[in-house]
Amino acid sequence: MSISKAAAIVGAAEANEIGYPDEPRTSLQLHIEAIKNVSDYTGIPISAIEGVFSTAWSSDLAEHLGLHPKYIDTTAVGGCSFEMHVHHALCAIYAGVIDVALVSHGENGWSQRRVGREGGPSYPAHRDAPGVQMTIPYGFSGPPSQYAHAMVRHNHDFGTTPEDFAHVSVVTREWAMKNPRAVMFNDETHEFGGPITIDDVNNSRLITWPLTMLHCCLQTDHGGAVLIARPEIARDLKTNPVWIAGAGESMSHSTILETDDFTATSAALSAKSAYEMAGLGPKDMESAMIYDSFTVTAAITAEMLGLAPRGDGYKLWKDGTAAPGGKLPINTNGGGLSFNHSGMYGMHLLVEAYRQLSGTAEDGINGIKGKQTNARTCVVNGTGGLLSTTGTLVLTSD
């Protein structure tokens, strides 16, 4: 048997409350609710989980669940860690070590300001790394302060403009308006929710030139979990399996100082591995879930995944290809820009990819009419750190 499709994602679920909840929530609570929900959804009891994959200390998480797993993985290299967890789980199942794997995420990106980070991710934890030390004196703050450098260089190398990238934000908002769980669903879910224009993006508050606020993702609470099982188990469940046809991971650097090309990521490498394993290529992809920490992240990644020529990633959004009704729907949940972004967005990508390919993207909680696409294939790419690490999956509905 080939490693391609040696396992399937058999279910995905989120925590009960996500976004900006009235009552503060802890990361551990977000994890546990999502795990309970995915167990109920698939009918797989929590006690049947043999492998635990998360960016929290997975031993803490397994202990909280009363589990004694055979496989424990705390890969925590940023927001792409969850795509890597799926890759690792596929390998572990293919090797015959485990039959059922849990990939879990809980991160109270919003509530942590009030209740701390109990059970939170172990990333980032490398302030003492010598490369990081050499950026400390220079007034950088959060991720926007760094990602802006990528947009400036992309503008220089390819003649693009910040307005070109604003289309990513506008189109992604159109998707969010089909998802009642999206923070920016409408003006009742958030005072700035509902439709936006290019002018709105241009005129929103300047964070790090050229990035205005609407080029940047949200910071919310989110928990999600997926269960992965070998084919014999997947076929007996009541849920629709989504097959892991290809998986790959890579990195160009860890510290941003080591960025060779500010207009590229290692998604080119991780996607090559994933496409090769799947025996499929970018032209076979009927949808994509792409990490949109910033508009520029999504556009560059689309180029790296082979979905658009170098320099032209933004055109997928500008010409409507990625929009509702378009030929290649991208980020159909509303993205990190307008749905949710807890800090590490990779699990949000997995949950939505599962829902689209399993035909459950419009069940009343997850979407309204027009959100479900007819895509049978999806390329999923997470980006971690500062354009640093990447994990790519090629998922198929059959």
């Binding site: 004196p137 220079y138 007034g139 302060s145 400036v152 030139w209 050229p210 100082l257």
Partner: protein
């Protein structure tokens, strides 16, 4: 009350660099096996994996690789916003981060990638001298 600007903690690996900055020198790690410069300091050459490494004094010259303007800053940097951060391609190879001087942060379109820059050193809290890069007056 504004906080202090965060500073690195010199370590056995970086001690020579920080001793150099206090004397106005930009010391760079160099591999004796492949003769290439690398930045930041390492225990092993990232190019050829030799551990025969030394330090050489850099020219303090470079060019602007890319930049951004920080409008939202915290702690010791809060009062200086907006200011320009940048990555500098060293004449000797590899790349350093900086806050870019000699530019107008309110006119980012006037700042050009590829512009020549020179290093200078500023004494910070605790006596640490930190390198910053400056765009020389346009001719």
């Amino acid at each position: 009350m504004p906080g202090k600007k965060p500073l690195p903690q010199p370590s056995p690996l970086t001690r020579v660099f920080w001793e150099g900055t206090s004397e106005g020198k930009l010391m760079l790690p160099k591999c004796n096996a492949c003769n290439r410069i690398h930045w930041y300091p390492r225990y092993i050459c990232p190019h050829c994996h030799s551990m025969d490494l030394t330090w050489v004094e850099g020219s303090g010259e470079g060019t602007l690789h890319t930049f951004a303007v920080q409008h939202r800053a915290f702690g010791g940097w809060a009062e200086e916003a907006p200011y320009v951060t940048a990555y500098i391609d060293l004449k000797e190879g590899d790349r350093m981060a900086t806050v870019l001087r000699g530019v107008d942060p309110t006119k980012p379109e006037s700042i050009k990638i590829g512009t020549p820059v020179k290093v200078e050193f500023e004494e910070m809290d605790d006596g640490l001298f930190v390198p910053f890069w400056r765009v020389e007056d346009a001719a």
